[in-house]
Amino acid sequence: MTTIHVNGQALETNATPDTPLLWVLRDHLGLTGTKFGCGQALCGACTVHIDGNPTRSCQLPLGSVGDKAVTTIEGLSADRSHAVQKAWMELDVPQCGYCQSGQIMSASALLANNAKPTDAEIDAALAGNICRCGTYDRIRKAVHRAADLLQSAPANAAK
């Protein structure tokens, strides 16, 4: 058994150490908000935070997670209250929605380190997240909006 720390909880899994974290989350722990898109870290649908850093969980073996804190979309907030989620809802960003967990995890990691990103900084931070439906214009606007929300309510930044 391996213990990993996901969304603030210590969870045990019998998955083998070579199993990608993506499949541990989805199959073993029932956290299906993190998506499988490419399996090669090319699309970003599987993005989670590892100690706050956006990470492609499809390329991270369970055995390499160790004691690091894993945050998934389910753990970003309990009630869609994270500024990025609020901005995403305000601007109605998703279409099919399949990539959006990954987009939101990349955007929230960006904002945790850069309170007021420029368009170019948003482009760079989210270039690894493919949206096949083409929601990019709203994604960019929503990241700016989330930055505004965080500035007016800095308590959220801790989330």
Binding site: A15, T16, D18, T19, P20, W23, R26, D27, H28, G30, T32, G33, T34, K35, F36, G37, C38, G39, Q40, L42, C43, A45, T72, I73, E74, L76, S77, R80, Q85, W88, M89, D92, V93, P94, Q95, C96, G97, Y98, C99, Q100, S101, I104, I122, D123, A124, L126, A127, G128, N129, I130, C131, R132, C133, G134, T135, Y136, D137, R138, I139, R140
Partner: protein, 712 residues
């Protein structure tokens, strides 16, 4: 309005069934269908448009698949408009398979062809109105007053200071006859329709709770990975699973019609074990199939005269006598759909029934295919439609359902099969390639006097709905060619069907994406040959086409046509598809050979708008979908195998590459047009025409990245 796959001019009637436990279920049935009594419940699934229970919970059953295009919201708006309830009072669930849900524009329960709103526009408003009228009548009877004196508000019937909730009235309302004399609201009275509404599905898509096919979990479910023949059209020769069978978690390795499946406790176990199975394949007839071979085959077939799609005047004679003749050949590549959610299916097959949880666009076909594979009757198969992580036509195919059905049947347990991205890219039903030859003739004043377009390519419909093309030309091969809008006295459009040995499929905008590229690129060639401005050249030929003319003028005006900043160049393109008229202007620069797309301006007349918020989303999305294809999209074959595997070799547009898009919607009270697809078809020619303006070089093949005219 558009192509019907079968004639569905059947008269419909309404039927009401009481719910066990009380409440109202309003359903629509079709005469001639086997069992109208099936209304109410089928295998535990209600069959109706809406359900109001005694607790006042309103559930709308949406009969089209939600694949991002917003039908869970827009179709619900139509019903809610007449029911006089707000969207946040409504829960949406996916409808099961039933004849009541047949799409009148397509003749089956299908989500596609940008048809959902067009099909539901009257049907769903009428259903909402009928339900409201019955609830009001139930209240009138209860209070013993004239129904005309009552009003409705926010889910209540109101009588002065008294009110009764829809929920309290539902059971009695269900016993009333369905009103046949229904007057729908005038557009000026709409409260929801035509107003921007937030999407119903957004909240679940920002917290990870939205349920896609890949997320389905059933008690006792096993997971499976699939290997398919690497050569398209190949088959299994034999396999050795000794090593795989003893690997952790592995339950079974079995041959299916589509390849070899490993079933295990968890998906990663199945994937690992699949890699340990030694498989030998038979290549089949496509062992030497190549992209060059396909191109050569289409080129050779193009020498045949083809069948007449449209013939006006005498194009051949007009060309002979013309002052200037221009001819060109256009070639377009195969494309993959690349839905971000890879294909997957969860099947629970039992002795006498089966439950299939799947992200399908084609519920009836899915039911029929599952029944055949499982050895059941169609009515024993229940299709549970999940959310779709993208559709784009890919999920009109049912190839990704069968392995799960076979595996579940073999295991006696629910099984979920997930394709890898590589499976998905290499085993698609690809957008057809095309080889199109086009000739235009100008008189001495530069007027276009003849248009001759000769299309050659494989037919999708011949495989999907063979009855349609028994005698007729595939209607989904000649879009944007048959309805060439320009006022030219001599027009000849012909079509040659030529199969290429692999499956081709419906891909967002279908043949519009092919034919609009050719027609609108060549119109640009003709304008330049005539020494005329490409916008003015088109506009002069649209005297009889006010809706086309208006979007063309609007796009040109809003884009500042002819007034681009120094170093920027514009290209324009125009099309009607799915009842929607659209023009786009792309503004580009090419500096040091490098293409930059600065802006896209889109003018659209899609008739009556249901939800401007979703219109905006769909136009943005459809343009970027088409731009991805124009810039990079190409599936190539060597030795019968697809050479692209994942997003490194099949490139999709990313955030930094998305240009700003300005959308201008024309006010209209015409019937709604479809919106998911036109934008996809138009961006290619708009960009290619802009590149010509910038470089003087004409793109007669795609993708742009491979044509050595600009770098991206």
């Amino acid at each position: 309005m558009t192509h019907k796959i079968t004639d569905s001019s059947r008269r419909d009637f309404l039927k009401i069934t009481g719910l066990a436990g009380g409440g109202l279920v309003l359903g629509l049935s079709l005469t001639g269908c086997s069992k109208p009594s099936a209304l109410g419940a089928e295998g535990g699934q209600p069959v109706a448009w809406l359900k109001i229970d005694s607790e006042n919970a309103i559930t709308v059953l949406v009969d089209r698949s939600e694949m991002g295009q917003g039908v869970y919201t827009s179709l619900t708006q139509l019903l809610a408009e007449e029911l006089e309830v707000s969207l946040d009072a409504i829960r949406v669930v996916a409808a099961p398979v039933n004849a009541v849900y047949v799409n009148a524009l397509l003749g089956a329960q299908i989500t596609g062809g940008s048809s959902s709103v067009r099909d539901g526009w009257e049907k769903l408003r009428k259903a909402g109105a009928q339900a409201r009228m019955m609830l009001v009548q139930a209240a009138a009877t209860h209070w013993d007053v004239d129904a005309a004196k009552l009003t409705v508000q926010g889910g209540y019937v109101v009588n002065g200071s008294k009110r009764l909730s829809y929920g309290a009235l539902a059971e009695n309302a269900a016993k009333l006859p369905v009103p046949t004399d229904v007057t729908l609201k005038a557009a000026k009275d709409f409260k929801l329709v035509g107003k921007p509404q937030k999407r119903i599905d957004t909240a679940a898509k920002v917290d990870g709770s939205a349920l896609y096919g890949i997320d389905v979990k059933l008690p006792g479910m096993l997971h499976a990975a699939l290997a398919q023949p690497p050569v398209l059209g190949g088959s299994l020769n034999r396999f050795d699973a000794k090593a795989a069978e003893t690997m952790p978690g592995v339950k079974k390795v079995l041959a299916t019609a589509s390849g070899v499946v490993v079933v295990a406790d968890h998906y990663w176990q199945a994937r690992k074990a699949l890699a340990a199975v030694k498989i030998s394949w038979k290549a089949g007839p496509n062992a030497s199939l190549s992209t060059e071979g396909i191109k050569a085959k289409l080129r050779a077939a193009a020498s045949r005269p083809g069948r007449d799609v449209r013939k006006e005047g005498d194009a051949t004679a007009a060309i002979k006598g013309a002052a200037k003749i221009l001819s060109a050949t256009y070639e377009l590549p195969l494309l993959a759909h690349a839905t971000l959610e890879p294909q997957n299916c969860t099947a629970d097959v039992r002795q006498d029934s089966a439950d299939i949880h799947v992200n399908t666009q084609t519920q009836q076909v899915a039911q029929g295919v599952v029944a055949a594979v499982a050895g059941l009757k169609p009515e024993q198969v229940f299709i549970h439609t999940t959310l779709l992580g993208g559709g784009f036509g890919r999920r009109l195919e049912v190839d990704y359902l069968t392995a799960a059905v076979e595996a579940s049947k073999a295991m006696g347990k629910p099984v979920k099969v997930i394709w890898t991205r590589e499976d998905d890219t290499t085993h698609d039903a690809y957008r057809p390639p095309a080889h199109d030859e086009v000739t235009g003739a100008l008189d001495a004043q530069g007027n276009l006097v003849a248009w001759k377009l000769h299309l050659t390519g494989p037919s999708i419909t011949a495989r999907m709905f063979p009855a349609v093309v028994e005698t007729a030309i595939d209607p989904f091969a000649v879009e944007a060619a048959q309805n060439y809008p320009y006022d030219v006295p001599n027009i000849a459009v012909t079509y040659n069907r030529e199969e290429i040995g692999i499956n081709v499929g419906y891909w967002r905008s279908v043949s519009h994406g092919l034919n609009c590229f050719v027609a609108e690129s060549f119109m640009d060639e003709l304008a330049h040959a005539a020494g005329k401005d490409p916008y003015a050249f088109r506009a002069a030929l649209l005297g009889k086409q006010p809706r086309y003319k208006r979007v063309l003028d609007t796009a040109a005006e809003k884009a500042g046509w002819g007034k681009a900043p120094a170093g920027h160049f514009q290209g324009i393109a125009l099309m009607e598809g799915y009842g929607t008229y659209m023009a786009q202007v792309a503004e580009v620069s090419v500096e040091g050979g490098a293409l930059k797309i600065h802006r896209v301006t889109c003018a659209v007349d899609c008739g009556s708008v249901v939800n401007p918020n979703i219109v905006d989303q769909q136009i943005h999305g459809s343009i970027l979908f088409g731009l991805t294809a124009a810039l990079w999209g190409e599936i190539t074959l060597a030795g019968g195998q697809v050479q692209q595997k994942n997003f490194d070799s099949y490139r999709l547009l990313r955030l930094p590459e998305a240009p700003p898009i300005d959308v201008h919607v024309i006010d209209s009270t015409e019937a709604p047009g479809g919106l998911g697809e036109p934008g996809t078809a138009l961006i290619g020619p708009a960009v290619a025409n802009a590149i010509f303006a910038a470089t003087g070089k004409r793109l007669r093949a795609l993708p742009i990245a491979k044509q050595k005219i600009v770098t991206i």
